[in-house]
């Protein structure tokens, strides 16, 4: 074996979260190896929309993480090449009927108290922000901090900038452990790699990986479809969605839920997504999901009715029962850290997650209290020990 088979940290998963872990670990002076059984951004990252949102988060630990993360994305947009397509375009959440306004106002007030910039937009000012919005909407809230990146390119350029060793097409088949059960590295389809710390950034497959390491993480996949239209001249300026989206994000229901976020992209196509449903790792097309996405997008922007959808793609957003990611040390396997379970917010939350992981490895002070994200929070709940019966459903 070569001498390059040992490093300070092994990150499993070359999606955006793994890339951010690698980037910040390297900036903290650690040597990093990133492993993925597939390609860079080949999993959930590649099936994401690139949402960097504070607008959809209720006050609490996730919002705090998002605020730090969006500030880090701003820094990264200067450090990384323009190909990542960082656009601080802002978000616009609209209420279609007056009944939706009080809840939206209440949410915005709470968010403002937590440090979010949120400006209420009366109905007559909506066309100024979004000329093609449907007439007759009740009003909205503008969130200037919301932004967007092209997720696959963002992950790839973060990884490249990290200088980490990249081993693709290499699947982890087991973990190397010392006498007292502490991790010493991983075994892969191509040999052994040594490191005192291993980061589980395997996204929707993080539950399986945890199990392989002898740990437990009750992670489940939630399927989301995104619709992509033909290229258009700029028609949608912000990330626009209806107030109902926030309720969907916070929901634990297995039913199909949709509240379409509509947004333009620098390349021209408009993205509409995503639906959310718990169906395991099933990629088959759901016309019900597409119908609702399309109907909501057309309701917000009637001009879209004649616009053609070119394609659609499904991704599996990894989520945990309390809808918070797992970021931190595993309670039972020393040396194992988790950085997964970000659901539909992984692109946005990646930098702050990477920074927390790096600080936990070096022993520096994390940028926020990582307690609420501690992977040990599920240990006591006996009901969740059956964990990933669904997550292990083969693709």
């Amino acid at each position: 074996m070569s001498t390059t088979d040992s490093s300070d940290v092994i990150v499993i998963g070359a999606g955006v979260v793994g890339a951010a872990c690698a980037y910040y670990a390297a900036r903290h002076g650690l040597s990093v190896t990133v492993l993925d059984r597939g390609a860079v951004a080949g999993g959930t990252t590649g099936a994401g929309e690139g949402n960097l949102l504070v607008s959809d988060k209720e006050p609490g630990p996730e919002l705090e993480l998002a605020l730090i993360s969006l500030a880090l994305w701003r820094e990264l947009s200067e450090a990384l090449p323009p190909e990542i397509e960082y656009e601080p375009k802002g978000g616009l959440v609209v209420a279609s009927a007056p009944e939706g306004l009080p809840a939206l106002r209440k949410l915005a007030a709470g968010q403002r108290a937590a440090g979010v910039k949120a400006e209420e937009i009366p109905p007559e000012r909506l066309p100024g922000l979004e000329p093609h919005l449907a007439p007759g909407l009740a009003g909205g809230v503008h969130y200037p901090q919301d932004a967007q990146v092209q997720p696959a390119l963002a992950a790839a350029h973060l990884l490249r900038a990290s200088g980490a060793r990249l081993r693709l097409g290499e699947e982890v088949t087991g973990f190397l452990k010392g006498a007292s059960g502490e991790l010493k590295g991983v075994r892969t389809s191509k040999g052994a790699l040594h490191a005192p710390y291993v980061v589980n950034a395997a996204g929707a497959w993080g539950g399986e990986l945890a199990r392989l390491a002898g740990a437990t993480l009750p992670l489940l996949p939630r399927r989301g479809f995104v619709l992509v239209t033909e290229p258009l001249p700029q028609l949608v300026r912000h990330k626009v969605y209806s107030a109902e989206y926030v309720a969907d994000v916070a929901s634990g229901s297995a039913e199909l839920q949709t509240s379409a976020v509509v947004e333009g992209t620098p390349a021209g196509p408009v993205l509409i997504g995503a639906s959310r449903e718990q169906v395991g790792f099933d990629r088959s097309l759901s016309t019900a999901a597409l119908r609702r996405l399309a109907a909501q997008a057309v309701a917000l922007f009637p001009v879209l009715a004649r616009v053609r959808a070119m394609r659609t793609y499904a991704g599996f957003r990894p989520y945990l029962p309390d809808h918070l990611p797992a970021i931190g040390h595993d309670p039972t396997v020393p040396g194992l850290l988790h950085a997964c379970g970000h659901e539909g917010a992984g692109i946005g939350l990646a930098p702050a997650t990477g920074l927390v992981i790096a600080r936990l490895v070096t022993g520096d002070k994390p940028p926020l209290d990582p307690g609420p994200f501690g992977p040990g929070r599920f240990a006591g709940a006996s009901g969740t020990s059956g964990t990933s019966g669904r997550a292990s459903t083969p693709r």
């Binding site: 070359a14 619709l227 088959s284 016309t287 053609r308 070119m310």
Partner: protein
Amino acid sequence: MSAEPYDLAVIGAGAAGLAGAVHAAGQGLSVALLDDAAQAGGQFFRHPAPALKAGRPQALHHHWSAFRELRSRLAASAVDHLTGHHVWTVTRDGDLPWAVHALTGADGEEQRPVCIRARALLLATGAYERQLPFPGWTLPGVVSAGGVQAMLKSGLVLPGRRIVVAGSGPLLLAAASSLATAGARVPLVAEAAGYLGYARHPGALAANPGKLAEGALHAKVLARHRVRLSTRSAVTEVHGTDRVEAVTVRRLDRDWRPLPGTGRRIACDALAVGHGLVPRIELATALGCATRQAPDGTSVLVLDDRQQTSVPGLWAAGETGGIGGWQLAAVEGELAALAVAHRLSGRPAPARVRELRRRRDRMRRFAEAMGAAHRPGPGWTHWLQDGTEVCRCEEVTAGSIREAVAELGARDARTVKLLTRAGMGWCQGRMCGAAVACLAAGGGGAAASEERRPFAVPVPLGTLAALDEPN
């Protein structure tokens, strides 16, 4: 909302679909036959629209009588032939009948969605052309070999006066022969393969004398028009400013790598280029049908002995199970029709099934031998310069695809697409998919692209929004 479902919906009215539809109707099944085009025939039996009043469309077809028979059987049958129907997806909810979602009517205001229900489905969606890019391939005057055939068959026009034909596969000889017959000058047919590959399958060849006769016929036409055939050669560059003025032809080694010092320039005003066909299977892969890599390097549907895919209730015939030509397609269409009738009615399968299977297997063996001989060699990527456009829709060059693989961690067509946009444009990778998959695999050859395209054609959002709720 809906009437009684059909017993069988057939998608595609080429040789496979026509045969499938008429034979299923002959077995007493109610059948809907959906197709994009205004008239039946598919790619092979493409013929001028009646309005053109072509005197003898059969002049372009050696097998016109076979088609005429299928067409008159269709006319005499109770099959509902739904022309101008663009199927965009197929779905099934549990044990309910299949739902075939299509768009019909002219683009724009008049276009409307249609949903056809059927208990069984036969996919006969044919194939499209495999493109391997090379410097200059986007210049006006460069046309596909299949495109030439289509132009001649439907519009009766020539793409130029002096036309070089290049690429690999039996379609080259057919195209060159049609062009010469239609009055074009064909200075050269450059075939990248050696043709020796066939010799390794003498059994398959001897069992298919018809194919030999067909080849001999083309050879005779080409000899009469003094068309030269160079094997192990390829057009590696096209020259011209506004349109094709000349091409460079190079000799190739066994792996299709151009041999240095062998370039020669040939003046021409058009180039017809073809590298065989790629099965159109996106409706099936969207349903999760199993695929395999055929000897020609393309991804094809895995079918059982009676043409059923790995998804129960879904049959396929013709090119979708591997490129094999119209005769094989017609046999498979009939076989699938009998299999569906047997499944739906429970009656014993007719004795003819055995005969059809024998003919299918014989023709399949031949087709696979031919496919292996014309499979692109791994050296073809050496034709590409870094600035050569590979994805025409999104203007992505070979250089940026190579960078995505070497520097950014792409490993397959999907991640190349995500990192470069290659394949995200209008054609959704149908044009560049084969080439991108090869480059993503880090070398040449013919890596099969496993792309999923849930929409077989673009769908207006208003149409999607108006879809019926299930039930």
